[in-house]
Symmetry: C2
Subunit: 475 residues, 2 copies
């Protein structure tokens, strides 16, 4: 797709380009003025910050399927109702659940030391009392996969791969495989347990949890992440040359399926009420920390953006929905249920955009929309530019994790990329708490979502959700 656009541009004269711009669909002046008003109001507002404060303080963490999950759904319904949306409702999502009971990872030889650890989501428990064995260290998942089974059988595997810090969070994708599929890989070679260096950038002593993937028929072994300073310590001790033994004791349960709710609130459109701009975030969190940057921040950002539109703009032409998804962390279950329920009406979805990367400032917008709608994204970007947001271009934007199950059917989507330099210091740790959020950075996010949602709802053209937007790239 990128190549096609480049060729087309190269073939056009400057005059032709200008003509194309003139012919592009335009916003009306008062619509742009409203966008600027929303942006100004949002930058001065603390509403997003206060919503996140309320959620993380009153509820705390909200593991999918836990009692706090139900309390969070109740909180969200009340909060959205109190903010004056036209409609607030819930839609069910059913998923397997997992409970952490305890974990303890310790060096037992040549010295006894406890390591800071968190079991990985859906890890099985160890036998009562744990397992104890010599550790075998690998540079990464590929090295484990390449190792002879006899080097691994009966041992505890330690994968030491470090996640690199980056603004766009790209270090995560390069590292997370050890967490996602390491347990299955180590089980194939009959290891007793898997320990990974945390998939995260914190230099403090916090383990980063997260979920593991598994197939119905696959064998998994108990798996935990240790904090990065503990991984350093374990590496140092291994390099000192004496055999190092670990004990791993995990108590965890996979429970009966649970039905939680996606919580949805709507500002009903004045002209095309059936057409929907969908702003997403997820309501669940991991069971450690209070889920502030992941994803209490997103809940605050998109809810406040919609509320500010309600208060400071006329009723939008299309409907704007806030969707607070269930059970994102343990497998995008809310997003999957939502896609199943709504994919037959995908053409009605004007645009989807989810905030699920903390509260760092938005630095770039990219989008996947129809050819006809593409100039409208440029016009929207013009109103985002004073927020420090660059044009990221026309990409296979998926709108965020919870919109991915619908994106594969061709959902028009925008990504407001946030600066994630510090995001993975806190992500999935006990340290993901409200104090990590900067209110000014959060307000910039709210402003960006308010402008995007408002203008997308007023757009002179539809954005083209449907088969025409299915991603056929081989990237």
């Amino acid at each position: 797709m990128k190549i096609v656009v480049a060729v087309a541009l190269a073939a056009m004269s400057v005059a032709g380009l200008q003509a194309a711009q003139v012919e592009a669909p335009q916003f009306e002046t008062n619509q742009i003025e409203t966008a600027r008003e929303l942006r100004a109001v949002a930058l001065e507002s603390n509403l997003g910050y206060e919503i996140t404060e309320d959620l993380t303080t009153r509820i705390g963490n909200r593991l999918a399927g836990s009692e706090n999950d139900a309390r969070a759904v109740e909180w969200a319904v009340k909060k959205l109702e109190s903010l004056g949306f036209d409609r607030v409702w819930t839609e069910p999502a059913t998923f397997p659940t997992w409970t952490r009971e305890h974990e303890r990872v310790s060096i037992t030889s040549p010295v006894e030391q406890d390591l800071v650890s968190l079991a990985i989501g859906f890890s099985p428990g160890t036998p009562e009392g744990g397992v104890e064995a010599e550790v075998v260290m690998f540079d990464d998942l590929a090295a484990l996969q390449a190792a002879p089974a006899e080097d691994v059988a009966g041992k505890i595997v330690f994968i030491r791969k470090r996640m690199e810090r980056a603004r766009d969070g790209s270090g995560y994708g390069a590292t997370v495989a050890a967490r996602s599929t390491g347990s299955m890989a180590a089980a194939e070679k009959d290891a007793l347990a898997l320990i990974i260096r945390s998939v995260g950038t914190s230099t403090n002593r916090f383990a980063h949890t997260g979920t593991m993937r598994f197939d119905a028929g696959s064998r998994r072994i108990p798996a935990a992440a240790i904090s990065n300073p503990d991984a350093d310590q374990l590496e140092r001790l291994i390099k000192m040359g004496e055999p190092v033994r670990l004990s791993v004791d995990i108590g965890a349960q996979v429970n009966e399926p649970y039905t939680s709710q996606n919580v949805i609130a709507e500002i009903t459109g004045s002209k095309f009420p059936e057409k929907i701009v969908a702003l997403g975030a997820h309501l669940d969190s991991w069971d450690v920390g209070t889920g502030a940057i992941d994803d209490g921040a997103g809940v605050g950002i998109v809810t406040a953006a919609a509320r500010i539109i309600m208060e400071h703009a006329e009723r939008p032409e299309r409907s704007i929905r806030v969707i607070l998804f269930a059970a994102e962390e343990i497998g995008l279950w809310g997003g999957r249920a939502w896609a199943d329920a709504h994919k037959d009406n995908i053409e009605n979805y004007q645009l989807a955009a989810e905030s699920d990367f903390g509260a760092g400032p938005v630095y770039e917008i990219s989008a996947r929309v129809s050819d006809e709608a593409w100039p409208v994204i440029g016009a929207i970007h013009a109103e985002l530019e004073m927020l420090g947001i660059a044009m990221g271009g026309r990409t296979q934007a998926r709108g965020g994790p919870d919109f991915m199950p619908m994106s594969i059917h061709g959902l028009a989507a925008a990504d407001l990329s946030q600066d994630g330099t510090k995001y993975f210091d806190y992500h999935h740790t006990e340290n993901d708490t409200f104090d990590k959020i900067d209110p000014a950075e959060m307000a910039q996010n709210v402003a960006a979502y308010a402008v995007l949602a408002w203008l997308a709802a007023q757009s002179p053209v539809d954005f083209g959700s449907g088969p025409g937007l299915v991603d056929t790239s081989e990237e």
Copy 2:
């Protein structure tokens, strides 16, 4: 003492001052050259860093009286012997010990949330299953002391005072009273337990432990520190207006007295072997983290400084001793035992200086020495200046916590003040681990101690330890 000096200086003419300077005792040129050589070598050496790495990796934490305490003593004797000191020996210190079994502090109403906590050293345990009650919040210890007993009785006290960050660590002294004596104060008003905001500056979710003071006859109640983000959370919830209840469950034991060892190593002086320059650090740590900045760093700094003198200078005129003290954290027991054993020979102690403030760079030297020796400190400072170390002046320097019990008898002492801006982010937390140390900053410390120890050992005059240096100031 400051006033006397000021008056004397005011009374002297410029010519008189210059004459006094000329008459001041001088180092020989080759002694200064050696100091500069030591400084250069130390700045290029990783030895201090490696010693700390070895201690914190091989042993880990070393709570006074624990099995690791004994292992650390064994490690220290072997390490000091391997470094080639003339003599290595141990001297006993006996002290009460305390064991942490578990702690759990939770909000039980209006919402269930676990708070990150650490019991304070020598906290009694709660009754089996813990105590649960409404929380009553105070701004500081004084507010608790001023409160009517009926506002406190049967409740759980929360002291919310924040420690301020400062280069010289002065925020610590302004805050630590709640930890030291809060338990006794709350017990007097029949509270059930005491919770304090951690005495530390970390914005991460680490509780800072530390010891409490107690008199033999005093009543104490169970006490724990919660992390600063948890203190924020508790404050926010209290300010939302509903009554907040806490559960506090602490398991802890005060044990039989234990005898550990101060580990001492000597470079025997060539000319005045009975005169001693004493470099201190403490070998014990808290039972969380690996005691890297507190005080593995000090162990590395003073040991490396002495070793570099052994390798790169002629034998010093006076003896240089490295003293690795026992049981500093739980009440300066090693320092007290050492003072008891050596105070009758206090005149033999040329100078004492302890490194117990992490591995941040030294920015200032101050000292307490005789009038006659004061110009020598100026001459030493001249060789420290290129390390970025300013002259802090003639003060009631006590040489560090473990030398305090001897300092009250008039020990000549120097303080090499370190930049402690970040020290209290890690102090007494699980996060006090080796990765927090910057090797270049540590090398600057080693250089400073090597220069100080070498020149103090070569000084043309004694520094005057004894009754003449007893602190009579009313500060």
